[in-house]
């Protein structure tokens, strides 16, 4: 079933770059909007995804320090070496199907990367960007 959704998703991507979503990601976006986020902006999400932050003398970014800049490939945690499964729902249909999990990782990763929670708007932007990959 999840594979089917992913396949439908890949197909719909040909028609519209933002058509890709799961019921859970839709619900989460709605939640962010109810908390004051405006329209989710994938361009802004991409900028934040690639933003470089210096931590302990290391140049870090979402794209290169833990996740892979190629969404279809595994990433690797910069410290623990743990393999992080691809972020693209086309190759990893488990992604974006569990609200609790999405919220948990937004919370952890925003705090690890930026030292604070992300705003509802930032999370909405990230989500729109990631779903379009």
């Amino acid at each position: 079933m999840k594979k089917l959704v992913a396949a439908a998703c890949a197909l719909s991507m040909l028609l519209s770059p933002l058509a890709c979503a799961t019921p859970e990601s839709d619900a989460l976006l709605q939640k962010y909007q109810s908390k004051g986020a405006g329209k989710a902006d994938p361009v802004k999400g991409k900028q934040n995804w690639e933003r470089i932050v210096e931590t302990d003398g290391e140049q870090m970014s979402c794209a290169n320090s833990c996740h892979n800049s190629d969404f279809a490939k595994d990433g690797k945690h910069h410290k623990t070496g743990k393999v992080i499964r691809p972020m693209s729902m086309k190759v990893n249909p488990e992604r974006y199907t569990n609200i609790k999990k999405m919220e948990k990782w937004f919370k952890r990763n925003c705090n690890d990367a930026w030292g604070r929670d992300c705003t509802a708007q930032e999370k909405a932007d990230f989500l729109a960007f990631m779903l379009a990959q």
């Binding site: 410290k79 623990t80 070496g81 743990k82 948990k104 919370k107």
Partner: protein
């Protein structure tokens, strides 16, 4: 004949004295599977496996005493878990924490867990590699095979060498050090 009787007596005595160590299960299941208690109790909680294992090897609770898990698995402590944010929602934390505390080294009858319980009587290690029993078990391994080994890097990565670590088996026979195929203890 006499010696046969003596050896029978000896065996009986051994079984009787050994049984307190096997208190966790009935004599019959112990007889059926005498090696089960040698290692650690395996991780048998799905939330524990999922949450801890999402970032690192899901260390069996028997690797640390309860007082260590109490400090580690605390809402505040998890916000800075060795430099990483590992916060959990309250319900999940409760489940993970309970499982760890109930199966901690000092609550377990498994052989290695008992040894760790004894080794940590007077200390509260937060890292598993700080446990003296574990240090001692590894001190003959040259640094080049661990720290200097790009596929190992630290003793923290149990499953880099302990091929059955996920099943709670740490026996030397199950060790394969990456890039050192000829190593034998």
């Amino acid at each position: 004949m006499r010696s046969k009787l003596k050896s029978m007596l000896l065996i009986t005595a051994l079984v009787v004295t050994a049984s307190p160590a096997q208190a966790e299960e009935s004599l019959w299941s112990w007889l059926a599977n005498p090696f089960r208690q040698k290692e650690f109790n395996p991780v048998s909680n799905a939330a524990y496996q999922e949450e801890c294992g999402a970032c690192h090897f899901a260390y069996q609770p028997g690797l640390l005493p309860a007082k260590s898990w109490e400090k580690l698995l605390d809402a505040k402590a998890l916000a800075d878990h060795f430099g990483e944010n590992a916060e959990l929602d309250a319900d999940t934390l409760q489940e993970v924490r309970t499982f760890a505390l109930e199966n901690a080294a000092d609550k377990s009858y498994y052989k290695r867990a008992r040894k760790i319980a004894v080794a940590t009587e007077n200390e509260t290690p937060l890292r598993i590699i700080e446990v003296r029993y574990i240090k001692r078990k590894h001190h003959e391994i040259p640094e080049k095979m661990v720290k200097g080994n790009k596929d190992v890097k630290s003793l923290s990565y149990c499953d880099a060498c302990h091929t059955r670590a996920g099943k709670a088996v740490f026996d030397a026979d199950t060790v394969r050090i990456p890039n050192y195929p000829d190593w034998d203890d």
